[in-house]
């Protein structure tokens, strides 16, 4: 029993230590973001890695999710004879919920893991120390471009994944369930409000920040060699996944209760 309490206490302290460290990194990053000069080419380079290079996998996953959503909804709606609602359910689910969350999880797995591994390797090979000796602040050089790139690219990727997801639903409804193309599109656009799009993209912006901060933080805190880098990469992905889902839950509740 005593061991259990000691273990729980240690876990709680580690939890506090993590959020303290992450908070400190967030504060430093925001401070350095507004201290010139900002090297745009570094932001573009990271934006390409995070955004453009993620397009194939985001396309594939979003298409599958759209198809699955349409088929699953069709299963329910056909019983009620309300196939017309499939279009609006797919559109609203993609834009408000699935588009931002699925895109963020894909980017966290692909880009977040790469960031943690890259910065972690730089840490163990003293490249981060070398940056400091050359009077280049590691937060400004490594975190700021990644934060800006992910905050910018995640809403863009989410918008793209919304379109592809809706296209997936369209393919099933028009070519399999026989719903007229014009009708599907009209119901889709009629059911979507600007508010739905805005809340989805706002979530994506925050998810992008979560991926950047957690991945960079875990990278900077690597200890040991290759094993440490592996552990930090796993921790970065798992923590990001948990925080994205938790943040999504809070956002969804907030938008539902405060701005219904």
């Amino acid at each position: 029993m005593r061991d259990l309490f000691i273990n729980l206490g240690q876990k709680f302290l580690a939890f506090l230590y993590f959020f303290g460290g992450l908070g400190s990194l967030v504060a430093q990053t925001f401070r350095w973001t507004f201290i010139p000069p900002l090297k745009k080419e570094r932001v573009f380079e990271q934006a390409k890695k995070a955004g453009y290079d993620s397009l194939p996998i985001v396309s594939l996953i979003a298409l599958f999710i759209g198809v699955i959503m349409a088929l699953q909804t069709a299963y329910q709606m056909q019983r009620l004879g309300s196939e017309m609602y499939i279009a609006s359910i797919v559109a609203l689910s993609m834009v408000r919920e699935l588009g931002p969350v699925i895109t963020a999880l894909v980017v966290a797995g692909r880009v977040g893991a790469a960031i943690a591994a890259e910065i972690g390797t730089m840490q163990v090979t003293e490249q981060v120390d070398a940056l400091q000796t050359l009077a280049a602040n590691p937060v400004k050089y490594l975190v700021v471009p990644r934060l800006l790139a992910l905050s910018l690219m995640l809403p863009v990727l989410t918008l793209y994944s919304n379109i592809i997801g809706i296209l997936g639903g369209y393919l099933i409804c028009v070519y399999k369930l026989g719903i007229a193309s014009s009708m599907y599109l009209q119901i889709t656009f009629d059911s979507l409000l600007f508010k739905d799009l805005f809340t989805g993209l706002l979530k994506a912006l925050f998810f992008g920040m979560i991926i950047a901060f957690v991945s960079c933080y875990e990278g900077f805190n690597v200890e040991g060699g290759a094993e440490g880098v592996g552990k930090a990469t796993t921790r970065a992905v798992v923590t990001t996944f948990i925080l994205i889902i938790a943040a999504d839950c809070i956002f969804t509740a907030f938008f539902y209760f405060i701005f219904p």
């Binding site: 490249q127 070398a130 400091q132 000796t133 050359l134 009077a135 280049a136 602040n137």
Partner: protein
């Protein structure tokens, strides 16, 4: 001049530096010797301001640096070039971008001037024409030389070397020693070399300091250190398995 007063640093329970005092005259080459893990690299990181001590002061040309803000510290860092043990080259950048990194970040040189400075630095380490290669394409010895070129490209007044000959073959090690000596003579810089390679220490040092249990326990010219009667230094420089250093470790076990 570099002056360190009463410097102490611990990591957890382990006290790495314990009231260390050291003085290095401008333009001299000081070699810090000591066993692996005794705190030599930690000492260098305090001199360049990467680590902050728990107690003590570090003076660079009369300026105390341990209490400086990051911005003020960056100005001091531009006077110091550091060569890391494994090179610590940025592996996403080419050799030329690595060497010119400090200039690109802090100075407004034209592209032509930048290339000239990079080539000049590479030629000082006998590596002309490799600017377009990536660090992964270099051998261990070349990486150390490129790291040295990166350190001298900002025209520092002080160069810190962390184990410059570790992990390279004896011939490359000797050429690196020669390079350190030549750079010292040509650039008139103050150098601090951290090593446990005694051949290298005798070759490059004007003064040798032995770091043991967090303190400098002996200081002298290479000849004085070679002829020392201090039992700890004697055991270390002669590489003896039995002696006071290993006896202390046995007591702890």
């Amino acid at each position: 001049m570099i002056e360190i007063k009463d410097l102490s640093k611990s990591f957890g329970e382990h006290k790495v530096l314990d009231g260390l005092n050291l003085r290095i005259e401008t333009g001299s080459t000081c070699v810090i010797i000591g066993r692996s893990g005794c705190g030599k690299s930690v000492l260098l990181k305090h001199i360049v301001g990467i680590l902050r001590p728990e107690r003590g002061e570090v003076f660079i040309d009369g300026q105390e640096i341990t209490s400086l803000s990051d911005k003020e510290l960056d100005k001091v860092r531009l006077k110091i070039g550091m060569v890391f043990q494994g090179g610590a080259l940025f592996d996403s950048l080419t050799v030329a971008e690595n060497v010119g990194f400090g200039l690109i970040e802090h100075n407004h040189f034209s592209h032509k001037e930048l290339l000239e400075r990079v080539e000049e630095s590479l030629s000082l380490v006998d590596l002309c024409g490799i600017g377009n290669l990536m660090p992964s394409e270099l051998s261990g010895g070349m990486k150390k030389r490129v790291a040295l070129a990166r350190a001298i490209c900002i025209k520092p007044q002080i160069i810190l070397y962390d184990e410059p000959t570790t992990g390279v073959d004896p011939i490359t090690a000797d050429s690196i020693n020669e390079l350190i000596r030549n750079l010292h003579d040509k650039l008139k810089v103050t150098s601090i070399v951290v090593t446990h390679d005694m051949k290298s220490a005798y070759r490059v040092g004007d003064k040798l300091d032995m770091l043991y249990q967090g303190k400098i326990i002996a200081e002298g010219s290479p000849a004085e250190i070679q002829n020392t009667q201090h039992p700890v230094v004697h055991q270390f420089i002669n590489g003896l398995a039995k002696g006071p250093i290993t006896e202390t470790l046995e007591c702890f076990k």
